[in-house]
Assembly symmetry: C2
Homo-oligomer: 292 residues x 2
Amino acid sequence: MGAQRIDGRQVAERVLEHVRAEVRALTARDVVPHLAVVLVGDDPASATYVRSKANKARAVGMRSTVVHLSAGVTTDELVRRVRALSDDADIDGLIVQLPLPPHVDEAAVIAAIDPAKDVDGFTPENAGRLFRGDLGGLLPCTPRGILALLQAYDLPLAGRHAVVVGRSNIVGKPAAQLFLAHHATVTVVHSRSGPVGRYTRQADILVAAVGKRHFITPDDIKPGAAVIDVGIHRTETGQLTGDVAPDVEQVAGWLTPVPGGVGPMTVAMLLDNTVRAARLRRGWHDVARTGV
Amino acid sequence: MGAQRIDGRQVAERVLEHVRAEVRALTARDVVPHLAVVLVGDDPASATYVRSKANKARAVGMRSTVVHLSAGVTTDELVRRVRALSDDADIDGLIVQLPLPPHVDEAAVIAAIDPAKDVDGFTPENAGRLFRGDLGGLLPCTPRGILALLQAYDLPLAGRHAVVVGRSNIVGKPAAQLFLAHHATVTVVHSRSGPVGRYTRQADILVAAVGKRHFITPDDIKPGAAVIDVGIHRTETGQLTGDVAPDVEQVAGWLTPVPGGVGPMTVAMLLDNTVRAARLRRGWHDVARTGV
């Protein structure tokens, strides 16, 4: 038996095909969508992510700009730079790669992003819209990607019990809100919850966004559940693995691999958000969507 | 046996004592906090609520103003009026009584409230802050009131399972976020969840914000749980009752009555938010709080 593998690369490729078509349509109207990425400091992982986002934007025909600032930048200076990019009429999408150095006030920096260009969906305005159940704003990329995977595999949320392990502002909490807006019953479990199995074993849909390698074991799974692994860890031998132990595959009904599950979806949704932002800020009506 | 009664009137009175002291301190600095309430149309229940809020504000020494607009007011006109009140330096707290007539774009009206005066905690900015786990903004009154009741009766949230029945933007969703910020494991159950007992029976803390009379029955309760009844319904004989059936009292460990439970807390927290707003918008530091 074993779980059906949820192929994030394949679904992401379908999203990117749509994005490429959108970019072509916008380019025909003399708008080449432009993504700006702010990178602070010299963390190698952050640099890799930023390079990958910029390259993928160019690969679908967009323009991309990376603004690289030194690790010593002050909150004031960073806010000033982010405001200037927000005000730059030539930029459609604007993200600040997280985490920021500890001396920087992350909330202040995020709040300086124009909500209309906030293609990570992290500003208070976009978070507030999602919280209200208004899906018309720019939505965070990883939760949108998870939703698109569930939809691609015909795994409905309405009336199902979705359990989200992890309460980050980037994944856990917005995923919970998005699932709730799609009529799931939602439980959020976290580091203060005690043993998580009593909650996760009830999940029809389980999202692991814990940041601990192989934290979710077969014992934590209801047989047949759809398991979405948001974690990404590098093993001693250099391989990538997730928050979900490999043998969960024996119990789950569906499972995302790491790599090749959620990761490709996150970047695809970032680019999709960028073409959306390019349209919406010009008052051009959004193309038909599946509610993702 | 029977559940311990959670006395909302008594706890609210303690909050109001604190508010009165704050109003005296502010008045000594020539600031008499001023609450403005916008009422649209002639719904008798809304009119009663608004009158009660304005009267209670005056009873603690504040000023209050009710702006009464006709049911036919357009969204544009209402937004204009709300903006003018937001810009009025003499006003510290500003709320718009809900629900608004169906032709009015409620989200647009709420977004017109200055977040610094948003003493209902409904603006996207304040909702976004709560969503991020930042409790430094203005928080919605009913969730804050529930939290204060739990704290007054030494019912901790950290590590407990809180189940919220109802996903409104006013009660259910912000209560879930507030509980999560206080380290509860949180489940949100709603009209699409199917039979709720399978979820509610796991609750250490159960919040019923369903809007259906006696929806929660003894079968839905884990023995010893703390049950918070947000519902308010008028019976045929004119009595007030809640979302929780009276015989839940036989199973629960703690229970809020209706009336005299959550209701008095909501108004007390509105007034507390108003003195908070009066301080914060002047850059005067907030007094020590219990994290409510």
